[in-house]
């Protein structure tokens, strides 16, 4: 039974009257009892607020004792006060907990009080009635001497920075300078000795002052940083850690506006020193694993900080650059530092020009040696994707990495198709250029294959890391893809599909073999999700190409679209969706460059004249037939001779006969689709015939035959009725050789002419156009 659900539902089902009753009861209880006696009721109050959206109407009289308890440490045990604070925070933003800044200072100012009150105050945020007073109070505590102790300063700083960061309060330049000065002091004057054990009751123990150590346990002789290790820490040392943690945000927000001021200048200078010291500390071998991880996080923070500072003040670059380069040389082959390589690349992208440094090799190294090897690493994949996205413009203008390493990037996507889809929708267009377009298309069509191949490699590697005895029986047997991967005959197929770099060739001859090998994996969840995401990217790709491709590229694209419509990884929905996208693409390609039907007539005719190509590609056939009927005309291309038209006529007619007379596609294709296809084929024939008078008798014969065929088949299909109606129209049209060509080919300049044939209300418009055309001709 779902306990969570029942607890929540119970709390939600309390009616408003019951709730008001509960509030009154609690209010009464608080008058007579101490606050620690009503803990269950307080928890109940929290729950009833937390699990509903619109219960904010708690009486202020009930909240006041809670606020008192939060503020006055002597009123109850600390956990009860924490609970009261949680209730108040759960209510926020809500005016009734908006207590004035002035009220804060009236009570005792112990760190224990501020620790709990300030988060509540900060939670009120923009709805605070007296932000001005609050800001002044916080600043007085921060910059004034001695009013509050160092432990409390940490809470005050956290509150002020939180509100400043989310723009609840706005600090003036002088105030920013004041705070910056303090931050600088707290960063640089931290004690470097270990305090005595604060948890010990024996006040005489360990009076000897011991210096903090480095992460490798050698004594530290330099300034205190977050990587300085002691048994215990004093409040000023904790404050140092806090200041470092907020520094990047502070500088990002204020350095550019206050860059000229002395206080900010000093802070930046000291911070730079602190960072360089941290870089040294990151090189030490940490004894504790947690510290080794912190070193990585610090390294990343330091690089980002230095980057921020250099962006605001380019004169710092020469001072910082050698250190960054040293870090890069140290970590470039360390697989645990991969994310920091990205941070360094970011730094280089911003600043390498200033020091005339060629970052090309570093970028290449990253894509071929790091990302390619670790693209199944989730966090690295995420960082890499974001890096490419955020620097899209720079990477496109100044480098060619996105166009060069798109296979590697698409592998990143193939492994996390669910998480990274939106990012790749934005990123994909930057990978496409005249040179890469065809190869990118092949990659996109094979995305699920890439996923399946990656699954194979991962399994083989995992298996290698285990001994056979470790495995349960169902995991012992190797799968077909795994066996194929270890087979030298098939290995090159995997190497090709999993390549990091483009430009080696658009695709391979034995792609079908690879599809067959990997067929067993077509039901894996990751592969299935990828197969659902791939058509989305394919559409993005085609939109991009549609906007920018040259005729030359379209000429290369057309045969690929034809060919790949039959060569797809066997996942049913994937195939259907991709074929739909591809056939739509075929139409606009022909629309843009009608001559392609002439250049590629052999391929098109071969494809359409072989019945075995038909099954599964009905959509492609339909769109092609429509395009042939529409664009095989001298209007679009002067090379369109009657000969070529006749050839096409031949093929389409043959297909039409096959479809209506023989059993072609009868079992696989739904009746409705057959009728639609038949109608398109008939219309295409009529259109072709109108442009080549010799074909007229044939088309009349053909259409009549088809009409006669229809009732004979005895089907109940409503599509047949449509065909029966369509055929006489076409026949009549063909009987008027003077008018027919004008009617059957719409003027190319008509807006949206591709849709007119669907417009049921367009006959009057057509008639007008026709009359106009006839008039014009007769005038000439």
């Amino acid at each position: 039974m779902d306990n969570v659900g029942s607890v929540i539902e119970r709390a939600r089902s309390i009616s408003n009257e019951e709730l008001q009753e509960f509030y009154r009861g609690l209010q009464e209880a608080l008058k007579s009892q101490s606050i620690s006696d009503v803990i269950p009721s307080l928890r109940q109050l929290w729950l009833s607020l937390a699990c509903t959206r619109y219960r904010g109407d708690v009486p202020p009289d009930l909240l006041l004792p809670l606020w008192q308890a939060v503020k006055e440490p002597h009123l109850g045990p600390v956990m009860v006060r924490v609970l009261c604070a949680a209730v108040l925070q759960e209510l926020s933003p809500c005016q009734s907990v908006c207590l004035r800044g002035g009220e804060l200072s009236s009570g005792p100012l112990s760190s224990s009080s501020l620790a709990l009150t300030l988060p509540v105050v900060a939670g009120v945020g923009h709805y605070h009635p007296d932000q001005q007073v609050l800001r002044e109070q916080l600043l007085t505590w921060l910059t004034g001497a001695g009013q509050v102790d160092t432990a409390a300063i940490a809470h005050v700083l956290g509150c002020l920075w939180g509100m400043d960061n989310s723009d609840v309060v706005t600090l003036t330049q002088e105030q920013v300078d004041g705070v910056s000065k303090q931050l600088c002091t707290w960063l640089t004057t931290t004690s470097t000795t270990q305090p005595p054990n604060p948890f010990s009751k024996n006040i005489f123990s360990s009076r000897q002052l011991v210096a903090v150590t480095e992460v490798d346990e050698t004594p530290s002789h330099d300034m205190f940083t977050v990587l300085s290790v002691g048994q215990y820490y004093s409040p000023d040392q904790f404050l140092n850690m806090q200041v470092f943690s907020m520094m990047r945000g502070w500088l990002q927000k204020h350095q550019s506006k206050n860059g000229e001021s002395a206080a900010m200048g000093l802070l930046v200078d000291k911070m730079c020193e602190y960072c360089l010291r941290l870089l040294d500390q990151c090189e030490r071998k940490a004894v504790v694993q947690l510290d080794a991880e912190l070193q990585q996080a610090c390294l990343s923070e330091v690089i980002l900080l230095l980057d921020t500072m250099c962006q605001q003040n380019s004169s710092m670059i020469p001072r910082v650059f050698p250190s960054i380069k040293r870090v890069y040389n140290r970590i470039q082959n360390n697989p645990t530092s991969s994310i920091n390589i990205i941070n360094i690349l970011q730094f280089l992208l911003h600043h390498s020009d200033a020091v005339m440094y060629d970052m090309g090799p570093a970028l290449n190294h990253f894509f071929t040696k790091i990302l390619d090897k670790q693209c199944v690493d989730q966090s690295l994949a995420f960082e890499a994707t974001l890096f490419c996205l955020e620097n899209m413009e720079n990477l496109c203008n100044n480098t060619s990495v996105l166009r060069k390493f798109f296979p590697c990037l698409l592998k990143v996507f193939a492994w996390q198709p669910k998480t990274l889809l939106a990012e790749f929708v934005d990123l994909l267009p930057t990978m496409v250029s005249e040179e890469t377009a065809i190869e990118v298309l092949h990659c996109l069509l094979d995305l699920p294959v890439i996923t399946a191949a990656m699954e194979t490699v991962m399994r083989v590697e995992q298996r290698a890391s285990l001994t056979l005895t470790d495995l349960s029986p169902e995991a012992t047997a190797q799968t077909t893809p795994e066996l194929a991967y270890t087979d030298p005959l098939h290995r090159p197929l995997f190497s090709f599909i999993l390549r990091a770099e483009g430009g080696l060739g658009d695709t391979i001859d034995r792609l079908k073999v690879l599809h067959d090998i990997l067929q067993d994996y077509s039901t894996l969840p990751r592969v299935v999700i990828c197969s659902q995401a791939a058509p989305v990217l394919l559409r993005v790709y085609l939109q991009t190409v549609e906007q920018e491709a040259s005729v030359d590229l379209l000429a290369r694209l057309f045969p690929v679209l034809l060919e790949r419509s039959s060569l797809l990884y066997p996942i049913k929905n994937f195939q259907t969706e991709v074929k739909r996208v591809l056939s739509e693409a075929l139409v606009w390609v022909v629309q843009t460059a009608p001559g392609l039907l002439i250049d590629n007539r052999q391929e098109v005719q071969e494809l359409m004249s072989s019945p075995r190509n038909f099954t599964g590609r009905e959509d492609v056939f339909l769109h092609l037939a429509w395009a042939i009927g529409e664009y095989m005309s001298v209007t679009y291309d002067r090379r369109c001779t009657p000969d070529i038209i006749s050839q096409y006529y031949e093929v389409v007619e043959c297909l039409l006969y096959e479809l209506s007379v023989s059993q072609l596609g009868r079992t696989e294709t739904p009746l409705q689709d057959r009728a639609r296809l038949t109608a398109v084929l008939m219309t295409a024939l009529a259109k072709l015939a109108t442009r080549c008078q010799d074909l007229m008798p044939r088309v009349l014969l053909c259409l009549t035959k088809i009409t006669q065929q229809l009732p004979a088949s005895g089907s109940q299909d409503p599509g047949d009725a449509v065909l029966l109606a369509r055929a006489p129209v076409l026949i009549n049209l063909c009987r008027m050789p003077n008018v027919a060509p004008l009617l059957s080919s719409l003027p190319a300049e008509t807006d949206d002419n591709s849709k007119l044939h669907q417009d049921q209300n367009s006959s009057s418009c057509l008639l007008l156009q026709l009359t106009e055309a006839v008039m014009k001709q007769s005038q000439q």
């Binding site: 306990n3 806090q242 995991a475």
Partner: protein
Amino acid sequence: MTFGRSAILTWFTPSEVAMVRSVIIQTVTPGPCRVLYAQTYGSDADQPGQTGSLAQTAARGRQKERVAAVARQVQSECSFQHHCAAADPVGEEVRRHLSQEGAAIVPQTGTFQMPEGEPFGTRVFTVWQTAANCGLSLVCENHENRQQATAVLSQIFKLLKLHLRLLNQPEEVLQKPEKVAAILHHFLPQGQLLFLNSRAVRHKEKDLELMLSGK
């Protein structure tokens, strides 16, 4: 030259803010997605100037909606990973060997991004971690340090598991919210990610134990 230059132009320059927006504890198994605890930091000025109580109730409602949107996505990401893992017997064995928590509970982790305006005003990323039916996630502004966010997330998750019966009885989070608040108070003070070394973590853990024991 690259195509799709228009795409580059429409890409929004990321915000310069680095902060944690929310911390969320939730259920993750298929079925209704339940938020057990959520704390939002900072303040969204989505409708500045409005200070009436209606506006505040609406603001609170929006906060809850955002939290629910993140929670749903965490649930969905987690279920995807779960399916992938279930379809991979060899990998399962490997993870079982590596994980110290026993066969039943292999923790899952991940990161995802949410675009500007959906549901937060700015672009944010979420780091999440789940075990059994319980998920913990941190929603951060895009410029926050992701490595540190992940480290803090694990630290908090570890403490939650230590002080509450998170894996077997996740409803305890609903019943003892002050324990969660105390943990966050020490390890995510006012929503700030702190760089704490192993000893500093230990020191804070002791502080926390002291607080939880009521001294």
